[in-house]
């Protein structure tokens, strides 16, 4: 897994767009970028995955620049329930790969 760097914590307010950026300077050609979300006292939950450009689903968008050395998870119009830890993972997309979680970004949403 490539090393990733993301902010330890972020604060925002309900209704705002939140962007969490992850740096992965040594990303390899075969690596994918994956984001997980973990609510307090719950298991991590897969949010989104991408290889390049932009990916969007019902939860979030993932922006990946051409050099792929960073990525930004975008959460549109957050609510209190988006308070969670968000993990950025980078690694080769092969079957049965274990996940090595970092410390993630602790996102706190205020009213």
């Amino acid at each position: 897994l490539a090393k990733t760097t993301q902010p330890i914590s972020m604060d925002s307010y309900e209704g705002q767009e939140v962007n969490i950026t992850c740096s992965h300077n040594n990303i390899a050609t075969n690596d994918y970028i994956t984001w997980y979300q973990q609510f307090p006292s719950q298991g991590p939950r897969f949010i989104i995955q991408g290889y390049k450009t932009k990916v969007t689903n019902e939860v979030a968008s993932l922006f990946i620049p051409a050099d792929r050395k960073s990525s930004t998870l975008s959460l549109p119009r957050v609510s209190l329930s988006d308070t969670a830890v968000y993990y950025c993972l980078v690694g080769e997309n092969s079957s049965a790969s274990k996940i090595i979680f970092g410390s993630g970004t602790r996102l706190s949403i205020r009213p």
């Binding site: 994956t34 719950q42 897969f46 995955q49 790969s97 274990k98 996940i99 979680f101 410390s103 993630g104």
Partner: protein, 115 residues
């Protein structure tokens, strides 16, 4: 939507006792995992399991730990002689192997408290 289930949600045991944590992965999944998270710390990989055998294990997964898929639906983690430092949330996860590998589905966890 199918989900991974785990039982019990909370287990309290005394040091030195054996515990078995149970998981029911999503039915068509082929790869199974156990992770743990000590309070306030990172989620740590313990073991992966495929085709009825361990495919990889971490340094944490020593001889006190074992995994089993006894009946084709359950996936269990056994700790033979629990220590205080085994107190943690234990998460089971599974994936089909056809989707992206990092798209694992996690259960709600079992909180193990060793006293």
């Amino acid at each position: 939507e199918p989900e991974v289930t785990q039982t019990p949600s909370h287990q309290v045991t005394q040091m030195g006792q054996e515990v078995i944590l149970r998981c029911v992965p999503i039915s068509n999944h082929l790869y199974f995992y156990w992770y743990r998270q000590i309070l306030g710390q990172k989620v740590e990989f313990l073991v992966s399991f495929y085709n009825n055998e361990i495919s990889e294990k971490s340094e944490i997964f020593d001889d006190q730990f074992s995994v089993e898929r006894p009946d084709g639906s359950n996936f269990t983690l056994k700790i033979r002689s629990t220590k205080l430092e085994d107190s943690a949330m234990y998460f089971c996860a599974s994936t089909s192997g056809t989707k992206p590998a990092y798209e694992q589905y996690f259960g709600p966890g079992t909180r193990l408290t060793v006293t």
